[in-house]
Structures are given as C-alpha cells and as structure tokens.
Symmetry: C2
Subunit: 336 residues, 2 copies
C-alpha cells in the first residue's frame, strides 16, 4: 500500500467550547507502513460523537488529551487490507478507535471488536451495533434490570443511546416512558421506538405532574442521560428498590462551578434504591452476547434505529458542530 | 399469668421535636391473656433508638404512626413464659417489637428472631447482635463489599451502627478510616474499634484535606450515616467502582425544606460508582449467617461494642431525650 494517500482531519486549534470546522485542518499523509503486530485498516465509516468535545477539551475525563497537531481521535469501522498480525486477516471488518482518516496502522488494543458479516449495513456498527447501542443495552440490562410489567423511564429518549435503552426495556417486558424535547421527537419515540408514553419536557409546564400522569404506578428504573431537573423529578417518584443508571449529564454544559440540586440520599434510603454510574467498556467481556441480542432484535424488526449520513472526509470538520446544534435526528455517521 | 401487673409506657402527647419524658405516661394494665397463635413475652431489656422519634412524629417513614394513648413501640428482648403457638416454647428468648412494657402478648410477625443461648449478655441482642450490629454488618458486607487492602470510610464511626460497620470492614481486611466528632470518640474509635485513622470533623477546619491525608489511595467504599458536607467531601475522593452505602442522614434534622447539595451524578458516572440506600430488614433471609458471624467475632475478641444501661421502667420516658443529647457513648438499653 506504500505510495498511496491518506487524508487526515487534524486538530488545528484547541476550541473554546464546541469544536467548529475552523478548529480542524485536512492534510494528506502517506499511507502508513506497518510495524510487527500492526495491521492496516481502510475506514469505511467515521463516527461523530458528543464525547469528542471532551476528548479535545483541556480536561478530558477518560482519555489522554488530544494535542494540537494530532489526527482527530474517532471511532470508525473499516476493513483490514494488510496485516502483520496473525489474528487480523485481510478482508475482516473491525470497529475501533482508528481516527478521522482514510487509513490507520492499528495496534490491537485500538480494536473494539470484529464486525459480524451478517448483511446489516456496515455503518450500524458505529450506532445501534456500536457504543451507542451497547450503552443502551448494558445500562438497561445490567443497571436498570427491568422486570416485565415494571415502569422504566428513559431521558433523551429519541437519541441513539436512549432509543436503544428504551427499546431494550420494552423487549424485556417493561412499560417504557420516554422523555424528550419537541413534538417531532415525541412522535418518533411513539412511532419508531415503541415507547408506551412520551413526555415533551420542553412543552410540559410541570414535569412532576407529567411524570405522575405517565407513571401512575411509580418508577421502577430510570436510564438517566441528563441529570438536572428531570433527574430530580424522577427521583421524587421512584418505587421501592428502584434502579437508576447514570449514563450522561447532558443538561449541564459544565461542572465548573459544580451544579447543586436536591440531595438524593433520602430518596435512596427511604426507597432502598440504587444509583449507579456506568461506562460501556466496563462490560467488555459481555459484548459478544450483547451484539448477538442486538443483531437478532434488528433482524426480527423489534429494534429500530435512525442514522444521519454525511458524505466524505470534507464533512468531518463541521460535524461536531452539527451534532451539538441538534440538526441530526439519528446517529451521525460519515461515509467515506 | 392472669392477675399480675403489666407496667406500660404510653404516648401521652405528640411531641414537637425530640420526645421528652413529659410526653409519656406510666400506666398499669393487666397482664394480657393470649389469643390462639400468640405467646407471652416477659421483657428483660428495652431498647432506646433514634428511630423512635420518627415513629412518634406526624409523618413516620416506614411504620404506621403511633397514636396518642398507644403503648410506646420499641424493640426489646425477653423470654417466652406462656404460649399458644407451637413454634414458641416457654423458656425460649426472643427479640422483636414488644413495646416499652413488662409483658407483651406477641403475634409471630412481631418477632425478629429467636436469641441464641450462647452465654453472651442478653442485652447485646438489642445492640451489636440486634439491628444496630446487623445494619453495620449488611451495609458493609452487602453494599460496601470491601476487599482486602481497600480503603473504607465510615461516618458516625463511634456509634453503635458505625462501630459495627467499621469493625466488619477491618475484619474483611480493609483499611478503615472513621469520621466522628470530639476527642473522646476519636480515642474510642482508635482504642476500642480498631480504626486505622480517625477524623474529628468538629476539630478539622478542612474535611477535604483531612480525608486526603487519611486516605492517600482514595476511597473505595463509604458507609454513610450522615449525608451532608461529609458525604460531599467523600464523594470528591472516591475511586473507580466505589460503593457508597446510604444508611442514615443524621446531619439533617429535617427534609422540609429539602436540603440541596453538590450533585453526585458526575462523580458516580466518572468513577462508575454505586450509591445504594438499604434497610436491614431487606436482608432478613441472611440474619442467621450474619448473627453467627457477629457472635463468633465477639467471642474471638475481634468485635467490640459499647453499651449504656439505664435501670428500670421509670427510666424509659426520658431515655429518647438522653439519646439525642449525645450523653450516651454506647447502645442505650433499659434493664427491667
């Protein structure tokens, strides 16, 4: 593969707030040569994720900070086209952290998993079969653990994580109540994702009353993507032994200064409830079973998803801005 | 037993705040006659517990409200002296909700458990072998789940619940840091309960700095009896996969208006930590094993306890006031 061109999107300046197109540059590098143990992946789809903002920010929570000059870190899915690693054979498809670029010389730890060749679109392995779907799956099955007939509430219910979480709860036999913002997303939750009831938090003057109406038997589990006022309202209506999965805190743009709110301890004590933060990689040893479930449910028509496709490497620099503008209605992916 | 006298302490007026001696009366009733299925218990020791305040208050959280005129609800330990229930034989000792009185006609659900005849003082079944000890045991073993070498923090570390929790953590091999108030209690924690380090929250100007010094490797588990500022400081120093047991919220006299504080969601998410409220009766099916452990540890000299003994029925009316004044330094019990 020597001699070819590798387009890369690189960090040109550290943004103040949400990364804009102007914070990135497009450059061309040679296709990398492989060291022993590496293999060459040709990316087919690049992912655009809210987490990217944190990766670029001065203080990244989970990863080493990305430096100015680095190729943008990103999930992508692609094909092994050359290999100096016997466990990765040309022709195999993989999902992992391969960056916003055409080609990546990949060390094994960067791979999340090999992609099953099952006829489903390859881009799904960045969405409903990628970390978004897995996050909804594990937050629901491992933390919320809904039982048939229980009431489960999901915030950011129309998002790619929330919609997976909500549908897994429905598949597990729960009554599922979504919380989302805007009439269009409410309709999407009802029509495409099969929620039993949906609350439009932007339109509801009284979120407590809306929850009470939507959850007459109280709330047994809550998949929390938001924190903030919605979280507080849900806690006031939890049932005995409720489970609360803390997946994200989207309602706060910043934790400096640290936001305050009503204390949860009393609710947790009186209701003997559990509140647990989780990250999907904590369940890495269960990815195989999870993906088998998710693939099966898609093939059976039980699990729906939405994708928004951008075209070409040129779309990458502005894509994070697009994501934070809320212009997309499904998982945002770039096709190369 | 007909014809004898049964002294009872009854609720004479509903107190405003902490129940005082003047809120109770002493009356004499006939020793009750037994209905089919009941048995007669002669109380040997009566318990005095912080929970009594809630039982009497207008809004009780877990129990039906006690009415003016009722005999005071209380844990006690006593001997079965007459029985119309084949499962309870005269001579057996039992612990349960038998009230502040000499004799109780007991229905089976009021019994917590039969008391092992093992030579230990009978009063212990209201303290370290009663709900206090069990609460420390289960909060630690079931929720905090300390592993050898981990750092565990316990608040109200010298109390009858906290001292049990802290010692169970030590027995399980953890490094245990207590938080308590006052030099005397600090010394008690070090000398009697074997804490590795103790923080005097009343003397420390900076609880964050004190925790950092006492927990150089961070905090893996926290047994929380207080909520409030101590809870918040601990959360800022938890490790990955930390477990927080919510056992009590002693730092707040009232939850109306509902207290606010720094939001825990971000800590729980970033550290993938679990915060769980629990009540001891949730683990009722494990009482047998727990009591066997606690008895063994006492007999082996690994588990210490403190008891404060009041003498006679006449001491009961003023005992809740004594408890809330902090005058006692161990589990407060009344000997009949």
């Amino acid at each position: 593969m020597t001699g070819g061109e590798n387009r890369q999107i690189w960090l040109q300046s550290r943004p103040n707030g949400i990364p804009r197109a102007s914070d990135f540059g497009l450059r061309t590098a040679p296709i990398p040569t492989l060291k022993e143990g590496q293999f060459l992946v040709r990316n087919a789809y690049l992912s655009v994720d809210p987490a990217m903002r944190g990766w670029i920010a001065d203080k990244s929570t989970y990863w080493p900070r990305l430096e100015v000059g680095d190729t943008m870190r990103a999930y992508s899915v692609g094909e092994v086209i050359e290999s100096r690693n016997p466990r990765y054979v040309p022709g195999e498809k993989v999902m992992g952290i391969f960056g916003w670029q055409d080609y990546a010389a990949v060390d094994e730890p960067a791979v999340y998993y090999k992609v099953q060749d099952n006829g489903l679109p390859l881009s799904l392995w960045l969405g409903v079969l990628g970390l978004n779907g897995l996050t909804g799956y594990f937050g629901m099955t491992e933390v919320c653990q809904p039982k048939p007939g229980e009431t489960v509430v999901v915030s950011t219910a129309a998002g790619s994580v929330g919609s997976a979480a909500g549908q897994v709860a429905r598949i597990k036999g729960a009554r599922v109540v979504g919380i989302t913002g805007g009439a269009e997303k409410v309709q999407q939750c009802l029509d495409e994702f099969g929620y039993d009831a949906v609350i439009d938090y932007k339109a509801e003057p009284d979120i407590d009353a809306a929850l009470k109406a939507a959850c007459p038997d109280g709330i047994d589990a809550y998949f929390d993507n938001t924190s903030g006022a919605i979280h507080d309202a849900v806690l006031r209506q939890i049932n005995l032994h409720a489970r609360i999965a803390i997946c994200g805190t989207a309602s706060f743009a910043s934790w400096d200064p640290w936001p305050e709110g009503p204390r949860p301890e009393r609710h947790l004590l009186v209701k003997r409830a559990t509140m647990r933060g989780f990250l999907t990689p904590d369940f890495e040893d269960k990815y195989g079973r999870a993906l088998t479930d998710l693939v099966t449910w898609i093939q059976e028509g039980k699990l729906n998803y939405r994708e928004d496709m951008l075209e070409g490497m040129e779309a990458a620099p502005g894509s994070i801005e697009t994501l934070y503008s809320g212009a997309n209605s499904g998982k945002l992916v770039i096709r190369l």
